[in-house]
């Protein structure tokens, strides 16, 4: 029960919901960039929502399934194929042993997630399987997945309905997530230094279109736009920052902190992208643009709660369908 990587991707790592409880040691939470995609992929194969998945960037790795495996691919669309045949995203797929998963063209999104039924066998470090590249711990020995790496699966699939002529079988249900990645207007709440922005900059923050810079990665997204400025200088000392924190750099540009963000920072925090919109942001790539809308923290909480309710409903439906299918 294993998957063998046969061609390197740009950056493919094992990630789960993140490593919390150690930020006081400077250990950032990491985890998947797009938590919604992780949850959906896991739901489709009947896993716990935070089970570790493989997060792949474009170009993504090529791999061989060495045993028949139930999988799901969610998040970005990189034109996935099995043995050259196009396959669907957001659906459970039973893949015959010996089949090759490849990706072609990047159509939409920045990160695709592969979940397998039962999950991967991966190193757990500080209660998380997420790969920490700096510390070289967690996931696949703390490393990105590369050619010749073999990732073992926790168990064999619970079903074997494959038609002898087919290299894969699409299970007949699909996760609908149209409301998840639809908008490029991201919502944020004011940060502690928001009030220090001059009036023009406050206006710019909600009027401008921000382009994601080339030097954006799992640590943070650097944004390009007309520079913003504070109306008065404030001497900042380092304090904790969070996923989604929007910092104002000395040159007037913004940076949004993502999964591998440092635990502390010393730049003015003009805002924080709301948790519910992080998946959308995580699926934007360098060169793409978005705009910002300010909301209050109560609304941010409600939006996340509603998103979670939808995801949970989806998870229940998937579990039900899978149970029915296995009968």
């Amino acid at each position: 029960m294993s998957i063998l990587i046969t061609r390197n991707g740009l950056l493919d790592t094992i990630q789960d919901g993140g490593r919390y409880g150690y930020q006081h040691l400077g250990i950032n939470p990491g985890g998947v960039m797009d938590k919604a995609a992780m949850q959906i992929a896991n739901a489709l194969v009947g896993n716990d929502p935070k089970e570790a998945v493989i997060e792949m960037h474009f170009p993504a790795a090529e791999m061989v399934f060495e045993k028949t495996t139930l999988i799901a691919l969610c998040g970005a669309n990189f034109s996935a194929t099995i043995n050259g045949e196009e396959i669907a995203l957001m659906q459970p797929l039973l893949i015959r042993e010996g089949s090759v998963l490849m990706f072609g063209k990047k159509q939409r999104g920045a990160r695709i997630y592969l979940a397998v039924q039962g999950g991967f066998i991966a190193d757990e470090w500080l209660q998380s399987k997420s790969t920490h590249l700096k510390v070289k711990a967690g996931g696949f020995a703390g490393k990105p997945l590369l050619k010749k790496h073999r990732i073992f699966l926790q168990r064999a699939p619970l079903l074997s309905i494959l038609h002898p002529d087919h290299s894969f079988e699409i299970l007949p249900w699909k996760a609908k997530v149209s409301d998840l990645y639809g908008s490029t207007r991201l919502r944020f709440i004011a940060g502690e230094e928001y009030q220090l922005l001059d009036d023009i900059s406050k206006q710019k923050l909600i009027d401008l279109s921000f382009t994601i810079g080339r030097d954006s990665d799992r640590m943070g997204y650097r944004l390009q736009a007309d520079p913003l400025q504070l109306s008065s200088h404030k001497e900042m000392i380092s304090t904790a920052v969070a996923l989604g924190t929007i910092q104002l750099l000395p040159d007037g540009q913004l940076i949004v902190l993502m999964a591998d963000h440092q635990t502390t920072g010393g730049y003015p925090r003009v805002g924080h992208i709301i948790s519910a919109d992080i998946p959308t942001l995580a699926q934007l790539s360098a060169g793409e643009t978005f705009s910002l809308e300010i909301i209050d923290i109560n609304k941010a909480e409600t939006i996340l709660y509603e998103q979670e309710m939808n995801l949970q409903q989806l998870q229940n439906a998937c579990n039900f369908r899978l149970q029915e299918y296995l009968k």
């Binding site: 400077g26 470090w125 700096k134 380092s238 502390t264 709660y305």
Partner: protein, 238 residues
């Protein structure tokens, strides 16, 4: 340091809040932070994922989804705010932190101290004077951040306080000892960085599988002592 010391609580995103005891580098304030940190660790609040002390702040990261599910109609931020406020008001001035004194060997040989010459010249000091000033003081670990196990220590003698390099290095070797303003610190990993590098320690500041991964913790007192290049190399290879 009484329970009435001023504080300010604000959101740090929709899933975290920060309590600030003032925005400065100050030992009394930092003691207060560490006291509250230990208090909160000892009396965990449901749904809290992380408690992150810094110079003068503590940030609480919480599981917004779990807490919201418990009572969807209620503001999680407001309840967390109330919990933290209660905790702050419970802690008293009687706290005395148990500060450890830790001695760390540092090799100030120019081969592992790329900014030592320029830093000495900038301050019209000899290299030996810089070393004596740096190794002659006891520092406090104010906080850990930036990288796993990176401790922010201070404050260095004003004679050697030096701003960060205008252009950060793309690679600073693990163990490098640097100065940034009045702070001094040790890089636990090979990493990009802008601190002025004046030496290197052979001691591992972070070990993933040690019971306590970080060599230092906030509140520790640290003294540096000079070692020769051969002592450094032997220590490294030991």
């Amino acid at each position: 340091m009484t329970h009435s010391s001023p504080y300010h609580i604000y959101p740090c995103g929709d899933h975290a809040l920060t309590i600030s005891f003032g925005e400065k580098v100050d030992i009394d304030i930092n003691e207060k932070v560490i006291q509250l940190f230990h208090f909160l660790q000892g009396a965990p609040i449901a749904g809290v994922l992380d408690i992150i002390p810094a110079y003068s702040t503590i940030t609480i990261v919480y599981d917004l989804i779990i807490l919201k599910k418990k009572n969807p109609a209620r503001s999680v931020y407001q309840s967390m705010y109330a919990e933290i406020k209660k905790a702050v008001e419970q802690i008293t001035g009687s706290y005395m932190s148990q500060n450890r004194l830790i001695k760390i060997p540092v090799c100030y040989d120019l081969s592992v101290a790329p900014d030592l010459v320029s830093l000495a010249e900038q301050h019209h000091l000899t290299i030996d004077e810089v070393i004596q000033l740096h190794a002659g003081k006891t520092y406090r670990v104010f906080m850990i951040g930036f990288l796993p196990g990176f401790s922010y220590m201070g404050t260095v003698d004003e004679k050697i306080a030096t701003p960060r390099k205008s252009k950060p290095r793309t690679l600073v070797p693990a163990g490098s000892v640097g100065i940034a303003g009045e702070q001094t610190g040790i890089y636990p990993f090979d990493s990009p960085g802008g601190w002025q590098l004046i030496g290197q320690t052979p001691v591992a500041m972070f070990s993933a599988y040690r019971e306590t991964p970080c060599y230092l913790q906030p509140g520790d007192e640290v003294q540096f002592y000079p070692i020769t290049l051969s002592e450094f190399e032997n220590y490294t290879n030991a």
